[in-house]
C-alpha cells in the first residue's frame, strides 16, 4: 500500500475532495501546514518596517491507498489541484508497511 501526501493551495481543497470522491476515494486526513518554496512570500509592511511572508498557508492531504490506486490518485490530484501558477504544491508518495482499521482490527487493503 502507498501513502500519497499532497501539499495544496487551501482554496483548492473542495475541488480536490470532489475529484478524489469521483475516483472512489472514501478516506483521507488533512491538516493545516505552511509552505516555503519558490512561491516566495511577498514583502509586506507592518508598522513601517518591511517583512517577508515566507511561509504560505497550505493544506496537506494524506491518503492511504492500495498500490494499484496510487497512480489514479496522483492523477486526480494533478488535475484538480492545479492552477498553473507557482505554489500549486507537491505530491509525495511513500510505501506503507501496514494499515490497520482501529474499529475492527482489519489489516491491509481491507482496512483502507
Amino acid at each position: 500500500m502507498k501513502k500519497v501526501e499532497a501539499i495544496i493551495k487551501p482554496f483548492k481543497l473542495e475541488e480536490v475532495k470532489k475529484a478524489l470522491s469521483e475516483i472512489g476515494i472514501v478516506g483521507m486526513t488533512i491538516s493545516e501546514v505552511k509552505g516555503f518554496g519558490r512561491q516566495k512570500g511577498h514583502k509586506e509592511h507592518y508598522r513601517g518596517a518591511e517583512y517577508a511572508i515566507e511561509f504560505v498557508p497550505k493544506i496537506k492531504l494524506e491518503i492511504a491507498v492500495s498500490d494499484g490506486d496510487a497512480e489514479k490518485v496522483v492523477e486526480a490530484l494533478l488535475t484538480s489541484a492545479k492552477t498553473g501558477s507557482i505554489g500549486d504544491g507537491k505530491i509525495f508518495v511513500t510505501s506503507l508497511t501496514e494499515v490497520v482499521r482501529i474499529r475492527t482490527g482489519e489489516m491491509g487493503e481491507s482496512a483502507l
Binding site: 509592511h45 507592518y46 508598522r47 513601517g48 518596517a49 517583512y51
Partner: protein, 438 residues
C-alpha cells in the same frame, strides 16, 4: 483653571470660604442641590468611562503582541488598576492635591478623609462634585499613567519588577509632578495649561515608558544584523476592541476633565475629542497608505489614539477646526514616529511612545498654537513639556535602573523565547488544542 483651586483648600476647617476664592465658577451657596447632583452624576459617569480605558489598554496591548505573552499582559493590566486605585487612596491623592504647598511637593497625609462639614458634599468643590467623586475620578486617571508603560515594556519585562516599578511610579512620581499643575503648583502659577493630561498623564506615562524601554532593551530578534524584523500582533480584533474602548473612555477622560456637567464645555469637548480622533484615523490612513503602500490597520488604530492624545491638552480651549488640524497632524506624526523609534532600535511593541509621549508633546504645544485663550503661551507650554519630561524620565530611569541592579528587570532568554505566559504564570492564554482535556 482646572483641578487647582478647587482642591487647594479642602483641609481648611471652614470649607465654605472656598466659594469666595473661585469667582469663575458658581458660588457654592449659589449652586442648587439639583445642579450639584447633575454635576456629580456626570463626573461619576466620566469615572466609569475612564475605568473602561483599562480594559481598552489590556485589549490593545495584548492584541498587538504575541499570544505566548498574552496572559502576562492581561495580568499586568488587571493588577495595575488595583495598584493604582489603592496607592492613590493611600497617598497619591494627597500628594497630588496637597492643599497649600510650596508648589513643588506637598503632602496632605495618608489615606482619605472626608472634609468636615458640608465641605464633603455640595460645599466641597463649588457644587461640582463630592469629595469621594473627586477622589475616584482622579484615581482612575492615575492608574492609566502606569498602564502606558506596560505596553512599551511588554513581552520581556519581569512581572515582579514591573509591579514594583508601577507601584512607585503611580504612588509617588505621578502625583508629585501632577501637583505642579493640577495641584496648583509652580507650573500652574506660571500659566501652563494641560486640560486633561496630554502631558500630565500621557506625557508622564510616555516618558516613563521611554526610560524603561531604554534600560530594558529590545525584544530578542527585533533588530538583527541592522535590520528591523517586525513582530506581528497576534489578534487584530482584540487590538481593535481595545482602541474603541479607549476612544469611548476618552469621552470621560476629556469630558470629565471639565469637572462639572457644564453643557457648553462638555459638549464642545465631545466634539473636539471625536473630531480629533477621526482626523487622526484619516491622516494615519493616508500616511500609512502612502508610505507603506498598504493601509495598515495597526497604524490607524494608533492614529485614532494619536488624535485623542493630541486633543487632550486643549479640548476645551480650541476651535472645532483646530481640533481637526490637531488630529490630522497627530495622525501623520504617529506613523513617522513609530518608524523613527524602530530606526533608533527603541523597541515599543504597541506604539505607546509614539502615541502617548510624542503626541502628548504635540498636544501640549498645540495649546500654545491654537488656544482661543490668549493667556496660553507656546513657550510656557514648552517649559511644561520639558519640566515634565526631564523629571518623569529621570525618575523612571532611576527607579528602573535600581530594580535592574537588584531584582533584575528582564526575564531570561529562554523565558522570552518560550513565552512569559508559561514561565511567569504557568498558563497559556489560549488553550484550544484538542489534546488538552480532549
Amino acid at each position: 483653571m482646572k483641578k487647582t483651586s478647587l482642591f487647594s483648600y479642602f483641609a481648611l476647617p471652614v470649607a465654605l470660604v472656598l466659594s469666595l476664592m473661585a469667582p469663575e465658577s458658581a458660588m457654592a451657596a449659589g449652586v442648587s442641590h439639583e445642579l450639584f447632583t447633575v454635576n456629580n452624576t456626570w463626573m461619576l459617569v466620566a469615572t466609569f468611562l475612564v475605568f473602561i480605558m483599562h480594559l481598552g489598554f489590556a485589549a490593545l496591548e495584548s492584541g498587538l503582541t504575541r499570544s505566548k505573552n498574552t496572559t502576562n499582559i492581561l495580568f499586568k493590566n488587571t493588577a495595575i488598576v488595583a495598584i493604582g486605585l489603592l496607592t492613590y487612596a493611600l497617598c497619591g491623592f494627597n500628594l497630588m492635591y496637597p492643599g497649600d504647598f510650596n508648589g513643588w511637593i506637598g503632602f496632605a497625609g495618608l489615606g482619605l478623609s472626608l472634609p468636615a462639614g458640608d465641605a464633603g458634599l455640595i460645599g466641597y468643590a463649588d457644587g461640582n462634585y463630592t469629595y469621594y467623586t473627586d477622589f475616584i475620578f482622579q484615581a482612575m486617571f492615575a492608574a492609566t499613567a502606569a498602564t502606558i508603560v506596560s505596553g512599551a515594556v511588554a513581552e520581556r519585562v519581569k512581572l515582579s519588577s514591573f509591579l514594583v516599578f508601577s507601584t512607585v511610579f503611580v504612588a509617588i512620581v505621578y502625583p508629585i509632578v501632577g501637583s505642579w499643575k493640577w495641584g496648583g503648583g509652580w507650573l500652574d502659577k506660571m500659566g501652563f495649561y494641560d486640560f486633561a493630561g496630554s502631558t500630565l498623564v500621557h506625557g508622564v506615562g510616555g516618558w516613563g515608558a521611554l526610560a524603561c524601554v531604554i534600560v530594558l532593551g529590545p525584544r530578542l530578534g527585533k533588530y538583527e544584523n541592522g535590520q528591523i524584523r517586525p513582530i506581528l500582533g497576534h489578534s487584530m480584533p482584540l487590538a481593535t476592541v481595545g482602541v474603541f474602548l479607549l476612544w469611548l473612555g476618552w469621552f470621560g477622560f476629556n469630558g470629565g476633565s471639565v469637572l462639572s456637567a457644564d453643557p457648553g464645555a462638555v459638549s464642545l469637548v465631545f466634539v473636539t475629542t471625536s473630531l480629533a480622533a477621526a482626523a487622526g484615523v484619516i491622516a494615519s490612513m493616508v500616511t500609512s497608505w502612502a508610505v507603506q503602500k498598504k493601509p495598515d490597520l495597526s497604524m490607524i488604530l494608533n492614529g485614532s489614539l494619536a488624535g485623542l492624545v493630541g486633543i487632550t491638552a486643549g479640548s476645551d480651549t480650541v476651535s472645532v477646526t483646530a481640533s481637526i488640524i490637531i488630529g490630522l497632524i497627530a495622525g501623520v506624526i504617529v506613523v513617522f514616529s513609530v518608524m523613527f523609534f524602530d530606526k533608533m532600535k527603541i523597541d515599543d511593541p504597541v506604539g505607546a511612545l509614539s502615541v502617548h509621549l510624542v503626541c502628548g508633546i504635540w498636544g501640549t504645544l498645540a495649546v500654545g498654537i491654537f488656544s482661543t485663550n490668549p493667556d496660553h503661551k507656546l513657550w510656557v507650554q514648552l517649559v511644561g513639556v520639558i519640566a515634565y519630561g526631564a523629571t518623569s524620565f529621570a525618575a523612571a530611569f532611576a527607579i528602573f535602573l535600581a530594580l535592574k541592579g537588584t531584582m533584575g528587570v528582564r526575564v531570561s532568554e529562554q523565558e522570552e523565547m518560550e513565552g512569559l505566559d508559561m514561565h511567569e504564570h504557568g498558563i497559556a492564554a489560549y488553550n484550544g488544542f484538542q489534546t488538552t482535556n480532549q
